[in-house]
């Protein structure tokens, strides 16, 4: 690790030495929303006279080196009116720009030589859906979901009907680094995966990177999803309220001190329990001896405080809490006795972050992030039997409680250094202390007064590990036609007296073509020190986060990608091909499941293997104007091989999807009526089905005279993932009516999920029919579902 550090430091010093020779002035500052002071991330600044540009970083900060003289600057951002400024530069200058949102509907965007066209970006395999578009997409139950909107992009697939899991370029869901305001989240699902934890009203921006990862990212193999919460309105108090058939949510933001400090608070809660409970209560009245009491709710709460401490310093404090609680209790009375069973399942996410931005010089910007992240999953069951007599009452009780989870404490420092117009450096480091609880079960039992009780805990012990990384990357403008981002990410994990070190080179190249398009190629080596132990059949919160240990290797990958990108008028087109090789993939052994980990060491239940994923992605996207949307198509293959699974033979990954297509259309008829529609198609999911049976026998005795054979039927599954479900396809539409009232703007949102009522398979079973014949059936869960939601903005 010391050697790695030396390499990184020397690289940095060499670049600084080169940059010190240049004679220019530095123009730096922030680009923000004129109406609310919200920082604009990824906004661009283009200088016509020197044919150079730059973009704002994750905190809205930009820095560009320009020669002495008069310069014409164009500042632009998606969904905002571009502004052109003329400045006289004779020394370093700090200048903040303010952009106004809302381009007139018919107005074409003045991109000119804007810097943020897809062909200008060195970074490839990166996609962004503007939040304005996310909120307009049709949504199941009227509940807009960020992750489901991402599933409409090429290379990003869903796990199944209604679920919000992301499967990126043949990777597993645990291979996505999901960062909320700089803090990695481990579980991002509500309602068993049907919704993500992100409240769309609280989110300012989200971007997903599927390949060509810059060196500042690490720790996951397949994607980086950055979600940034709103900073809070610096000017005046605003908010939103949203009521749908599944949940209600609110967001309120405003200044604490105008233009100095602001806050944002948002919350969401489902009321499925409030709807279902009265129905259950009326059913219970029909038979007072049997009562059933189901419960389910989820909530999430986001908060953020943004404080501009001085001209060079900003501080952000943010938190996120989210919980799902599911349970089912049943009581049955018979005579003087009563038996009851109570089953519960809950999972909880808690994140807190403090960030400090400091502008050391016009060229050097830093961000220090200190975070705490906790994910816990608990499930328990209690049985009890009570017998009452005239003089006495005896209760026998048994309960078990299973707990697992992970707690991270992280400190991270990032620097942005605008060395000159040819080199933009990013470097920094990260230290994370992980505390894994891979599962422990407490058993308690009472057998009445005459017998001793049980109180014992079984399962894996806590595992503590230390993960650190250093990185340096340089965005290099070699010439007007050739730009590159070259970096190195070095990571190290220490766990149980063992350490793993990895050096991960990253390269992204952009060649501008004479016709205005660009050819891009990238290579990234990634390493991942955590695994998600999951059964591939259904995504459940019982999925277990476990670390790499002395017995379980980390995951690693190498991804090569090449692509072409060009903007035709308002339409961005891109075609990318990729090949990814993954090593150290983790899976349960054949016959193992979550329940094995409850009482036994999880390391003995797993096996490791390799995987490949390759394919082509096509995207045609229109982000602005009256009509917006995109068409995406992916042709891909994803296969895996484990020595101890499927007899060591390669098999298709569960989410290997040969064809995946999506069409998204949004049209604003007027200021009052907005329409959106989506259509998706995907090749059926790979699955293993029971294929045949035979009668097996075991001798009743292995010694003695004439041992008989005890026979039983054995179901033989097919080769791993040898079958496919039917293809998935679905259309959704949404129609929104907006009206401006005196103090607020309200919307009625009518949407229809699965418009043409297609049966999309969720799971498959072998059913025995009444006549004894057998049939394999696919079961869907969501037919056509109309819904209505109400939204207000003030």
């Amino acid at each position: 690790m010391n050697h790695l550090f030396s390499v990184l430091v020397l690289s940095f010093l060499a670049l600084v030495a080169v940059g010190a020779q240049a004679q220019t002035h530095q123009l730096s500052g922030y680009i923000e929303d004129a109406a609310n002071g919200e920082m604009l991330l990824g906004a661009t600044l283009w200088c016509e006279s020197v044919q150079a540009g730059t973009g704002t970083n994750a905190y809205g900060f930009y820095s560009i080196a320009l020669p002495t003289g008069t310069h014409q600057l164009t500042v632009s951002y998606i969904g905002y009116t571009p502004q052109t400024y003329e400045i006289e530069l004779s020394g370093d200058l700090k200048l903040d720009f303010k952009l106004s949102a809302g381009i007139a509907i018919d107005e074409a965007v003045v991109t000119g030589e804007a810097f943020n066209r897809i062909e200008d970006q060195v970074q490839m395999s990166k996609m962004e859906i503007p939040m304005d578009q996310v909120r307009r997409l049709p949504a199941i139950g009227g509940e807009v979901d960020l992750l489901k909107s991402l599933q409409l992009m090429p290379g990003v697939q869903s796990g199944g009907e209604g679920t919000s899991g992301l499967y990126v370029r043949g990777g597993s869901p645990d291979q996505n680094l999901i960062i909320l305001d700089g803090v990695p989240l481990y579980s991002v699902s509500h309602l068993f995966g049907f919704f993500s934890v992100f409240n769309s009203d609280a989110v300012k921006q989200m971007t997903i990177t599927k390949g060509g990862f810059p060196a500042r990212f690490g720790g996951r193999l397949s994607s980086v999803l950055e979600v940034n919460m709103k900073d809070g309105n610096m000017k005046e108090v605003h908010g939103t309220a949203n009521v749908s058939i599944l949940a209600s949510k609110f967001m309120v933001e405003g200044p604490i001190i105008e233009d100095k400090a602001s806050f944002m608070l948002s919350g969401r809660r489902t009321y499925i329990d409030l709807i279902v409970n009265p129905i259950i209560a009326s059913i219970n009245k029909q038979n007072p001896d049997i009562t059933t009491d189901p419960r389910y709710f989820f909530y999430d709460l986001n908060g953020k405080v943004n404080w501009r401490v001085g001209k060079r310093d900003r501080v952000y404090l943010s938190f996120f809490n989210g919980k799902d609680d599911f349970g089912l209790a049943s009581t049955e009375r018979f005579g003087v006795s009563q038996s009851s069973i109570d089953f519960g399942l809950d999972w909880f996410n808690s994140v807190a972050a403090a960030r400090w931005n400091h502008e050391w010089t016009p060229k050097l910007f830093s961000n220090l992030t200190v975070t705490r992240s906790e994910y816990s999953f608990n499930t328990g069951i209690e049985f009890s039997v009570t017998e009452n007599t005239a003089s006495d009452s005896t209760t026998q009780r048994f309960n078990s409680l299973y707990r697992s989870g992970i707690v991270d404490h992280t400190a991270r420092m990032d620097f942005n250094y605008a060395l000159n117009n040819k080199h933009y450096l990013r470097f920094g480091g990260n230290l994370t202390l992980h505390r894994f609880n891979p599962g422990a079960t407490t058993f308690q039992a009472e057998f009445g007064q005459e017998f001793p009780g049980i109180d014992t805990t079984l399962g894996a012990e806590q595992v503590r590990s230390t993960e650190r990384f250093l990185y340096i990357e340089d965005e290099i403008r070699v010439s007007d036609q050739f730009r590159a981002n070259i970096g190195l990410h070095g990571a190290r994990l220490q766990v149980n007296g063992t350490s793993f070190t990895s050096l991960q080179p990253r390269v992204a190249l952009n060649f501008r073509l004479l016709n205005g398009g660009a050819l891009k190629v990238s290579y990234a080596r990634m390493n991942q020190f955590v695994h998600l132990l999951t059964n591939e059949g259904l995504a459940l919160p019982t999925d277990l986060w476990v670390p790499a240990t002395d017995q379980v290797d980390p995951q690693s990958s190498q991804q090569w990608a090449a692509g072409w990108a060009k903007t035709f008028g308002e339409i961005e087109c891109s075609v990318e091909g990729y090949y990814k090789f993954m090593d150290g993939l983790l899976s349960y052994r054949e016959g193992a499941s979550f329940s094995n980990t409850v009482n036994a060491n999880w390391e003995e239940q797993v096996t490791q293997g390799i995987g490949t994923a390759y394919g082509f992605e096509f995207l045609f996207q229109k982000k602005q104007g009256r009509t917006t949307g995109w068409i995406g198509y992916t042709l891909s293959w994803a296969e895996r091989q484990f020595d101890e699974i499927n007899s060591g033979n390669w098999f298709p990954y569960t989410y290997d999807r040969r064809h995946d297509a999506s069409v998204v259309l949004m049209h604003r008829f007027s200021d009052q009526i907005d329409f959106s529609a989506t259509w998706v198609y995907g090749t059926g999911r790979a699955l293993t089905l029971p294929e045949s049976t035979f009668r097996a026998f075991v001798p009743s005795s292995f010694t003695g005279y004439t041992p008989a054979l005890n026979g039983f039927d054995v179901e033989i599954p097919s080769a791993k993932n040898a079958y496919r479900t039917s293809p998935y396809h679905r259309a959704d539409v949404s129609l929104t009516f907006l009206k401006t009232e005196k103090h607020y703007e309200r919307s009625w949102i009518f949407s229809v999920y699965n418009l043409y009522n297609n049966l999309n398979p969720f799971f498959s079973l072998v059913d025995v029919n009444e006549d004894g014949s057998r049939t394999i059936r696919e079961y869907g869960i969501f037919p056509i579902i109309p819904s209505i939601a109400w939204r207000a903005e003030f």
């Binding site: 329940s595 054979l709 394999i776």
Partner: protein, 322 residues
């Protein structure tokens, strides 16, 4: 416009609810199954009779299921060319299968061939494991100490005995080969025995349990109702395996039941046999239920077929009580 939207919502809502109440289901076409021979033949070197079974495999949608093949003919041949042939209708014993009598198998390699009309002929090969016994070059050893004993005799009821025994077993462990064993109580506990209507005059059961939880060498196997034991890495890895034996017996005479011996079967089995039984157990007893357990492929050492041809040697270990 509002009326139109209301009407549209009503139609869509009704359609959706109707579909939901029906259940959203679609039948899947499934390829036709090509039946293959599924063989079970587990043989030891010397036995009065050994039973072989051949069944046809069946497709998962076949409601009749796996059927016995009475016409199956088995040929067992060793490396020296000596062979035994049996099977067909003549050797079929109802309730048992194809019975081979007066078995005497030599050490070494054996190949089983099973032929049946309309089926592809299948073969399987095995090596006879070393002959296990309480003495000799491939011997086990044990110690047994009665830890606890409870005797009860009442005039109106059966006498009753319960014993707990500290049992330590050492199994042979070759340095140049992997060793696999099956150890089971001959009269193991089985709920089905208690559900039978007629109760025997004298009865009881024995439970064998390892004293160390999650010992990777020892694995319970439900189909065999015993423990599969395997040497792992180290030489003499199977020294002093700690077990607990629990015996219950009841009957009219205390003297008789208190002298009831515990009989254990100690078998040296082939690797293929161990693998076959492990897989059968995983398939039949999914740890997380059928939906949440990683599917298990059936193991077979039968070419182009299912089942297992296994060779084992066995010894009876008797713990007597005076």
């Amino acid at each position: 416009m509002k009326q139109l939207l209301f009407l549209l919502s009503l139609i869509l809502g009704t359609t959706g609810c109707d579909k939901l109440s029906e259940g959203v289901v679609r039948d899947i076409d499934f390829p036709e199954h090509d039946p293959q021979i599924a063989v079970t033949f587990m043989a030891r070197p010397i036995a009065d009779t050994i039973v072989a079974r051949a069944h046809s495999s069946a497709g998962i949608l076949d409601s009749i299921g796996s059927k016995r093949i009475k016409e199956a003919v088995y040929t067992l041949e060793n490396a020296a060319g000596n062979s035994i042939t049996w099977g067909g209708e003549a050797d079929w014993v109802q309730g048992l299968g194809h019975v081979l009598t007066d078995v005497e198998l030599e050490d070494g390699n054996w190949t089983l061939t099973v032929e049946a009309p309309e089926f592809e002929t299948v073969t399987a090969a095995q090596v006879m494991p070393p002959r296990i016994d309480s003495t000799g070059s491939y011997a086990y050893a044990y110690t047994a100490i009665v830890e606890d004993e409870f005797l009860e005799e009442e005039e109106s009821e059966d006498a009753y005995v319960a014993r707990t025994i500290d049992f330590t077993l050492t199994l042979p462990d070759r340095s140049d080969a992997a060793d696999y064993f099956l150890v089971r109580a001959q009269k193991s506990f089985n709920w089905d025995d208690f559900e039978e209507e007629e109760e025997a005059e004298y009865d009881g059961y024995v439970v064998l349990n390892p004293r160390v939880e999650d010992d990777p060498r020892i694995e319970w196997n439900q189909p065999c109702r015993g423990y599969l034991i395997q040497d792992i890495d180290a030489v003499e890895a199977l020294n002093s395996l700690p077990f607990e034996l629990y015996q219950e017996a009841w009957g009219p005479e205390l003297e008789v039941i208190s002298a009831e011996p515990i009989v254990l079967e100690v078998c040296a089995i082939s690797a293929e046999m161990a693998q076959y039984y492990k897989r059968l157990d995983l398939i039949n007893n999914p740890s997380g239920g059928p939906l949440f357990t990683e599917p298990v492929l059936a193991y077979s050492n039968v070419s182009s077929g299912y089942g297992c041809f296994g060779l084992y040697t066995s010894s009876t270990l008797i713990l007597s009580f005076e």
